[in-house]
Structure formats: C-alpha cells, structure tokens
C-alpha cells in the first residue's frame, strides 16, 4: 500500500494539473473543502496503518518460508504437535491477534471521529440547491425565500467559496449518485426518497463531479461541474441567471428562435421569456454560459453545438434527445440564437 501512496502521489502530480486545466479537478487526494479534507486525513491514517500491517504480515510470511527447513513428500510428516502443544507459537499468534484488535480499535475510533467531524459542518447561511438526477443530466434549482428569485440551471453549479452549500437530492427516474471527489463523499439520489449533501469549497476552482451509481446507457456521460468562485462573482452570476433570456437582436437569431419554437426543441426545453417551457430537458435560458453540452459530453462551441443538435446519438448514444434533421440554414440560425443565450 505504501507503493500505492507513492504511485498515487506521482500520478496525481503528473495528471492533476492537466486534468484541472482541461476537465476540472476530480481527485479525492486533493481536498478543496473541509468535508473532503476530513476524509483525506482519515485516508492518510488508514493508509499508514494498513501499509505497516501489510509489511509486517507479508514480511513474517516471507521470512518464515525463507528460513524454514526444506522437506520432502516422501519423508514422514512431523505429527508431534498433535501430542504436545506449542506455547511459543501460541503466544506469538495470540500477540499478533491482540495487536490486530488494538489497531482495529484505533481505526474504528478515527472513523467515528471523522464521521462526527463531517456531521459538524456549520450550515448557517448555507446556500440551498435542489439537485435532481435525470437520465442522464443534472437539474439544479437554486432556492430562495423570494419565489421570483428561484432559478434553475443544468449540469453546472456555481457556488460561492467559503459558504456552505446544502444540496437536496432527488431522482426523477432511476438511482443516481452525486460525487465531487475534491469536495465531499458521494450521496445517492433515490426515487421516492430525499437526501441531503452538505459541502463547502474553500478554494476557488472548477471541480468535476460525476454520477457514481450505475444508471443506464449514459452513466459514463453524466458529469456535473462545480464552479467555486468568490462571493461577489457568484452573486453576479446568480443575478444574471435569474434574468430571462435576451430577445434575439438580429434577423438570423430571430430566425433561430423561430426554428427553436417551431421544431422539436420547444417540446422538451425551456427558455425563460419565451413560449418554450418544456420541463423534460435542461433549461437553456443561459445555455451559452456553460462549459459543456450534454452533461460534459462536448465542449460548448458552435460547431460542437451544431453537431449535437443534428444527432446527439453520435456523441451520447441512448440519450433522450432525438436527432434533428434541420436544413443547414435553419441549423445555423438556431446555433446562432442559442449562442446569444449568455
């Protein structure tokens, strides 16, 4: 296991920056918040103890077989032990068992302590977000005492650094599980039940989360990003997100909006401030401001967006969005329009 740790550290050293740059960080060994921090401390303790135990046990075995006498099938076996017992062996085995029990007690204590520490995360002034798992995307609804201030987004959370966040977890179809390795342990989203997950990000950054419970064809492409940013920036983002979509400014985007409303799109997607209010698929009011499309499937670029609209099944087979054989001009207009939804 100590090999494990060194290997882990090298690997992290090598990969994490790259990953962080491109895809957001996702590493349980690089905690960016108190919850993951507590767990990381527990991990280090367990890793240390287990490594020690491994070395001792395997060492004892290898030394034993190395220095034991060699025998031969044909030689009669030594059955003396059946007659008289072996006090030295008994004592050493007994001691080994005693030590194991003691170590387990330590580990159990550490576990309980960590458990309590996790439960003690102060939640006053927490940001409340209702997170709903769908096949295969995340719907987030930012709660607010003022109903008019409630807004929803998809597949990308923005949270203020240093402020606790309380996620209320629900599932609309099958069981999902939300997991941000750098921020906190995972929690299942189970149909017919409600769970909560408390976390806090202490360092700004882009954190990658992913569904951790097998949920069907696209379990692999059900990513949820967390953008942790300073409070001011966050408030700015929230205010912007509450606003409804800007009306199309030029002919092309106007045509794009028309296409959106008159083709399949509006059947499932919603854009606040327009007649499109489908509730089945991600809210697109500010789609252009997100990092990715298709819950982390493609980067949010015009070409990728066009490809996605034409046939989502190529990038994400099984996803619930149908292919749309739009004429090129319509497609171009639609993409242009969607790009304006900052």
């Amino acid at each position: 296991m100590n090999r494990a740790h060194r290997a882990a550290c090298c690997a992290v050293g090598a990969l994490a920056p790259a990953a962080a740059a491109a895809a957001g960080m996702h590493d349980a060994l690089q905690p960016a918040g108190p919850q993951a921090g507590h767990v990381h401390a527990l991990w280090l303790l367990l890793l240390g103890v287990c490594t020690l135990v491994y070395i001792l046990v395997v060492g004892a075995l290898l030394i034993g077989v190395a220095r034991a006498r060699r025998g031969d099938e044909r030689a009669p076996a030594d059955v003396a032990s059946l007659a008289q017992d072996e006090p030295r062996l008994r004592q050493s085995v007994g001691a080994a068992i005693g030590i194991s029990i003691a170590l387990l007690a330590v580990l159990f204590g550490a576990t309980v302590v960590t458990d309590r520490a996790l439960a003690r995360l102060p939640l006053d002034g927490a940001l409340h977000i209702k997170l709903t798992g769908h096949q295969w995307w995340w719907e987030a609804s930012y709660d607010d005492p003022m109903v008019s201030n409630i807004f929803s987004t998809a597949n990308e959370l923005h949270i203020p650094v240093g402020r606790p966040v309380l996620l209320t977890l629900e599932a609309s179809d099958v069981i999902h599980s939300v997991w941000f390795p750098d921020l906190a342990g995972k929690k299942d989203l189970i149909p017919g039940r409600t769970a909560t997950l408390a976390l806090r990000a202490d360092q700004p950054g882009l954190y990658r989360g992913q569904c951790a419970e097998f949920c069907g064809y696209q379990h692999a492409k059900m990513v949820l990003y967390v953008v942790a940013e300073p409070a001011a920036q966050y408030e700015q983002w929230a205010a912007h997100s509450r606003a409804s979509a800007p009306p199309p400014a030029n002919d092309e985007t106007r045509r794009g909006q028309q296409v959106f409303m008159q083709s399949t799109c509006a059947m499932c997607h919603a854009i606040s401030g327009t007649i499109a209010n489908g509730q089945q698929a991600p809210d697109l009011t500010h789609v252009a401001s997100r990092q990715t499309i298709g819950a982390g499937t493609l980067p949010n670029t015009p070409s990728a967006l066009a490809a996605w609209i034409i046939d989502p099944q190529l990038a994400k087979p099984g996803a619930n969005m149908p292919p749309n054989g739009l004429p090129p001009a319509d497609l171009q207009a639609l993409v242009a329009y969607l790009r304006t939804l900052q």
Partner: protein, 204 residues
C-alpha cells in the same frame, strides 16, 4: 420449493432410463422460437432506422392511400415488436403530454385509447396521420414538432394500449401511481370500427 420433492424422492427413487429425447426437442423448439423473437424485440435503436429528416406531414384522405399502407407495412412493424421503441413511445406519450387529454389512454377531453373503438382507424398509418395532421375537435397537429421515428414510437405505443402488439415486447407497469393495467397485461381489443366513417366524426 420443488427441490424439497426431489430430496424426499431420491431415497425411494430407483428406476431405469426413459429417453430424454422428446423433452430435449421441446426445449430446442422453445429456444428456437425465443431466438427469433428475441433479436427483434431487444434491439436498442438509438439511431432512427428510417430517415432522420422530419418528413412533411403527408396529406391523407383515407387510410387506404398507397403511401400509408406502404409505411405501415415497412416501418410500423419494426416498432411494434421492439420493446425499446414501445417504451420510448410510452415515455414520449407523457413527455409530450398526451396524458393531458387522453389520461393514460383512459380518455378525458380526448377519446379513450385503450378501448376497441377507433374513430380514425386503428392502422398505424391512421394513427400516424392523426398525430401528424391533428383531428377536428381538439387533437392538435404535431407535424414538424416530433421527429419521424418518435412518431412511429408513439404510434406503436398507442396500439399497445389496446393490446395490439406482442405481450413480450409491450411495456410493463411504471414506477408510478397505478392508473391502469400495464400494456403487457392487457387483453387484445380487436378494433371494432376502422377507416373514417364521416358520421362518427360529426358526432364528436
């Protein structure tokens, strides 16, 4: 359960051979049938088998128009024996809020879909046309709003609500309030009236 019997039987049991040939053959036949059904039933067609383009809603006066029969015979069967297509149809039926008027096929503002009466015909092409073109007295036209393959999935599902598709492919119950028997448990409702009797239309 039954293993109790074997156990209690073994001790006494003492008996010579009886050729296993016949049962084996039966099993073989069963498996063969299974084999034929299975592939068609289980395929997941994420890519629509027919053209991706939304075909402009065909204008039909009656069900016995060549185009209709053509599509029916070529396309519809693929969907009606395919469990995935049927379940997609069921999902879309609620996503596109068909329940709003047809209440799980029970009927409300719109006619019931799980019975044996078909105002505009029970043929897939009839149903297709009904969805695409809409009908007087409230059925809106979804032509252009729903891609072709999804239309056919809906058509197949609508027919499954009258038990007109294979039980082994029809959708099972939803994890939801039990509104009606699930499609895979319905007895077939052989269509009573097909085609388009103008009288019935006025009577709506």
């Amino acid at each position: 359960m039954s293993s109790t019997r074997h156990l209690r039987g073994t001790h006494e049991a003492a008996r010579g051979a009886a050729a296993p040939g016949a049962p084996l053959r039966i099993v073989a036949v069963l498996l063969a049938v299974l084999a034929l059904a299975a592939c068609e039933r289980e395929a997941r067609r994420f890519e629509p088998p027919v053209g991706k383009a939304i075909t402009p809603p065909p204008i039909r006066m009656s069900a016995i128009q060549p185009a209709a029969i053509d599509t029916t015979t070529t396309i519809a069967p693929h969907y009606e024996v395919n469990a995935y297509a049927l379940s997609e149809g069921k999902r879309l039926f609620s996503w596109y809020n068909c329940n709003g008027c047809h209440a799980n096929g029970g009927g409300d503002k719109g006619p019931a879909l799980m019975d044996d009466t078909w105002i505009y015909g029970s043929e897939p092409s009839n149903i297709y046309a009904t969805i695409v073109e809409g009908r007087p007295n409230g059925m809106p036209s979804f032509g252009g709003h729903i891609p072709d393959n999804e239309l056919w999935e809906l058509v197949a599902y609508v027919r499954s609500m009258s038990g007109l598709v294979p039980k082994s492919a029809a959708p099972s119950r939803n994890d939801d309030i039990q509104a009606k028997k699930s499609e895979n448990r319905l007895l077939p409702e052989p269509p009573q009236s097909s085609g388009v009797p103008p009288a019935s239309e006025r009577s709506q």
